[in-house]
Symmetry: C2
Subunit: 197 residues, 2 copies
């Protein structure tokens, strides 16, 4: 694997606590979406079908393929705010994993991880993603329905509706400053059946 680790360009703490998220208001053509890369304030907008190639070419975000993959986020010690981003190609779709280090409470950085479908909210409802950490005789699993990249990743993270790790837990799961995140995507029919049991 060749993971991409991108440091967020912005350094304003206020900005990361109260993310702007006004992109959508500027989009008049409902077929057009803004750049979904949370790293940069990128003026690009285009159709959903070309978001992946934009992320690859402009932001150099790698794609990992397979039903179950492991993303290695390196340099976890980097100061907040920092984002780690990878695309995951699976079941005929592309998903965006966003791992963010952010100080919701000053002086106490936390890690937030979520997956977004590069597709519509209706398409996203068909899937379940699982993030798994496994080290030092501890295991943490988070399963949820991915959000669509048409929604705002900042609000998902500020709502805390994602995998949340405090610094000490992140260290327990890290190996030499790197965090290995197991990622799996399934269609949500399996998830519904399990939930009924």
């Amino acid at each position: 694997y060749a993971p991409t680790r991108c440091a967020a360009a912005q350094t304003s703490t206020e900005q990361s606590i109260l993310p702007p998220c006004h992109h959508h208001e500027a989009v008049h053509d409902p077929q057009l979406v803004p750049c979904t890369c949370p790293l940069f304030s990128c003026p690009w907008e285009g159709h959903l079908e070309v978001v992946v190639s934009h992320l690859r070419q402009t932001h150099r975000i790698n794609i990992l393929q397979g039903a179950e993959i492991v993303f290695l986020a390196t340099d976890m010690h980097l100061p907040a705010p920092t984002d780690w981003i990878i695309m995951h190609s699976c079941l005929g779709h592309q998903f965006l994993l966003v791992l963010r280090k952010q100080e919701k409470y000053e002086g106490h950085p936390q890690f937030f991880a979520t997956m977004m479908l590069i597709g519509t909210p209706t398409q996203a409802d068909n899937f379940t993603y699982r993030l798994e950490l496994n080290r030092n005789q501890r295991r943490l699993k988070w399963e949820a329905t991915p959000r669509s990249v048409l929604e705002c990743v900042d609000s998902v993270i500020s709502d805390g509706d994602c995998l949340v790790l405090n610094t000490s837990l992140a260290q327990l799961f890290s190996d030499n400053g790197s965090l290995a995140i197991g990622i799996a995507i399934t269609t949500s029919k399996v998830h519904n059946a399990e939930a009924e049991m």
Copy 2:
């Protein structure tokens, strides 16, 4: 199930952030342990074998039996600090589940859940516990080795080496103010092998 919900008696935030944990220093007989109930400053001490009956009789903590149980913590809206406690009888041992609502960061209560074996650290190494939340198409699982009640539950929680939930996530997993926590205990064969070496 008839879950017990106990509100912590102490209201000092400072005390909950910097737990005293000086119990052990006062114990000169290594066979004697202090009361392991984190709810009250209880002067009781006794042998490990009678901790369970002390917790039942003095602190009225219920015991649930079975390999996999569900503990329903009610009134999650109660202000921090609050503890929810249950004993779990399984595999010939008794475990103590501690769910604590605490404000590590002022104004931002979080929930911390961990399991302690009512036994020695060496015995605790033989087991793995799993806590699982499952609601609203989200699932969160935490697996770890239980600590011994001879260790301090306050330090486990202040270290964050446990299941940690922010308020919004706790609400997503709650139903009408109650949080259902699935609990399972298994033996960890790796640990057994290590213990025999």
